[in-house]
Amino acid sequence: MTAPDAAARPRRRFRFPPAATAILFAALVGGVLVLASGANPLNAYYQILAGSLSLGSLPDTLNWAAPLVGMAVAAAIPLRGGMINLGGDGQMVIGGLTSAAVALYLPAPGPVAAAAAILAAAIAAGLYASLAAWGETRHGIPMLVSSLLLSYPAVGICSYIVRFPLRDTTTGLPQTRMIPEGARLLAIAGPLNIGLLIIVAIAAAAVFLDRRAIVGYELRLRGLNKRFAGYGGVDLEKQAMLAMFASGAIGGIVGAILVLGSDFRFIDEALLIPSYTWSGLMAALLANGEPFGAIIAGLFFAALQTGGFAMQRETTIPRVLTLVLQAIVILFLAVRHGLGRRNA
């Protein structure tokens, strides 16, 4: 079984771009699934499109896209270096709770408190994420496993803190008090707030660092060939810690933006229900860790999910179908086009 190298194979005249083929394939499989549950797939897809890209629904799409793209960038950074961070949920929750605590208890004028809250969220979540990198470099625990296993205690402890020490006892729900108005993120229009701009800035910085800076070059080098990067003088341990810190910090900022800009309090499990982490990870995988591609894929998944709400409203099809579609896209690309294959 000596399969010829992909590059050596004679070029075919025309090839569909892999991503488009994958989306088409996912739409077909999803269509069969919808058909089997007794609904009209064409109507379902029409509702998704209309519910995400029509003029009236664009703000909602953008509002959904901000955290999702944030988590996509967070996942893309380690992935670019051949590492996988599965602990986004824990990092996001740590960031969210930290920002709520700082915004509630720091005796400072509103905007200062908000800035401090976001900074604290980034640091807390970043440090927690780099714990996984430290475990790999010092204790040989693979990051793939440890980042995920560390996520459960983080979620559990934050859940405890919001249920007991920081609980708003005036309501019956597990949530903190409302954050004072001055410390909330300014609204732009409708559901959008300046958190969106922060995400745009982070995304732009990630693309710039990836393409133009030495750290980005070294990280790509590691992703292509870790041993060569080490041989070439890259401090692999430090690099792993930094990449995970950056990834976790972005996850923390996403949590903070959701708390300070949308919910105005930390509510137990509210950050995890939309599963931004996993959609973001899939977007990053789709682009193989390339930040710009991850951002585009994140926007696409955000549109898909926002459209999913419209579909659920207008038809009988549950919106979790969009998660299935995303997973099929990834699987198709991984199986058919060697997505993520390290020696490709």
């Binding site: 079984m1 399969a3 699934l33 549950s37 996988i84 599965l86 475990g135 790999e136 470099t137 204790h139 040989g140 625990i141 693979p142 793939l144 496993v145 440890s146 995920l148 296993l149 560390l150 459960y152 205690p153 559990g156 402890i157 859940s159 405890y160 249920r163 007991f164 996993w278 990870l281 899939m282 995988l285 099809i317 549950p318 979790v320 179908l321 998660l323 299935v324 995303q326 997973a327 099929i328 990834i330 699987l331 991984a334 199986v335 058919r336 060697g338 997505l339 993520g340 294959r341 390290r342 020696n343």
Partner: protein
């Protein structure tokens, strides 16, 4: 301390171990064949869902178990063929499968039963317990096993069976060869892809059993994402036990004990948000300790160690 080890604690520990043990045996088979299977989590979930659906419609727990195994085996085909014939990246495929399992079960739950979150119904027949009153009062073993499902007995039987197959039969020898030196195995006429496909599908059957125990064993409900990291704990158990079924079972016993202990701690008045984290904390601690021991035993090869904790090399995507 002796007051802590109660018959109830041991009994619930054995119950908690079963799904993790079955998944870890599945993971060991794959690791031995050179497939880094981290889709255990998703396979358990598919198994748990299929078990509840089939038990609900056929009114029989046996039907549920059979459906769970078949569904998880079919689901495993993605990894079986994706990682061999199509040469996809194991980890990416597995992450995709875990997410697909989570989304698909949630979707079907809503479409089939019109509920979200948790599905329970009196029509779901749970697995019967095999009661052996004779061993009831024997400390530890008897406490643990006097009243368990058939799946638990199968799981511990499989520990022995898989050990024998792996280390005492020609098939086991070839399977290990495929994992350790695929090129050499190929040269000797062993069909590498076929062995890997078979290992992954067999792993699917084991994970299906694990799922059936989860949803029909102690309870008879399906909850979204009810596998709750058990597949990942199984991955760790495979690493700690170096893919040797006996050691892997030991690692699983540790996690099961931690799980049962967390229930016990809840009884002492600790909030369950805190006690729920104990299995994960124990898992992480075990990883750190085991690595430390090994490093003291063999200092020079720290570079290799870091890449393959537990001695089970993460298989490099070979050029086949």
């Amino acid at each position: 301390m002796s007051g802590w080890i109660t018959p109830f604690l041991i009994h619930s520990a054995v119950q908690a171990i079963t799904p993790i043990l079955l998944a870890a045996l599945a993971g060991s088979l794959c690791a031995r064949a050179g497939v880094f299977n981290v889709a255990l989590e998703g396979k358990i979930l598919i198994g748990a869902f299929a078990a509840v659906v089939a038990s609900y419609y056929t009114q029989s727990a046996t039907g549920g178990v059979a459906a769970a195994m078949i569904a998880a085996m079919v689901f495993s085909l993605i990894l079986a063929y994706g990682a061999t014939i199509f040469r996809g990246d194991h980890v990416v495929i597995c992450i995709g499968m875990n997410l697909l399992a989570s989304g698909l079960t949630a979707y079907l739950l809503r479409v089939l039963f019109g509920v979200s979150g948790v599905f329970s119904d009196p029509a779901i027949v749970s697995l019967g317990k095999i009661r052996i009153p004779a061993i009831r009062d024997i400390p530890i073993i008897g406490w643990g096993f006097f009243s368990q499902t058939i799946v638990t007995w199968i799981a511990w039987g499989l520990v022995v069976a898989i050990s024998l197959i792996l280390f005492r039969t020609p098939i086991g020898l070839r399977l290990r060869g495929v994992g350790e030196q695929p090129d050499a195995a190929e040269t000797l006429g062993v069909n590498v892809a076929a062995y890997r496909i078979a290992a992954v599908i067999a792993a699917g059957a084991l994970c299906g059993l694990a799922g059936a125990q989860l949803s029909l064993g102690a309870v008879s409900v399906f909850a979204e994402d009810m596998s709750a990291g058990r597949g990942w704990i199984a991955v760790v158990a495979v690493m700690l036990g170096r893919a040797n079924p006996i050691y892997v079972a030991g690692a699983c016993a540790l996690f099961g004990l931690a799980d049962a202990m967390s229930v016990r701690l809840q009884g002492e008045g600790l909030p369950n948000q805190l006690t729920d984290i104990s299995p994960y904390a124990v898992t992480l601690a075990a990883l750190v300790i085991s690595h430390r021991k090994r490093r003291r035993a063999a200092l020079p090869s720290s570079e290799v160690d870091a890449a393959s904790p537990g001695g089970v090399a993460e298989p490099q995507p070979d050029t086949r």
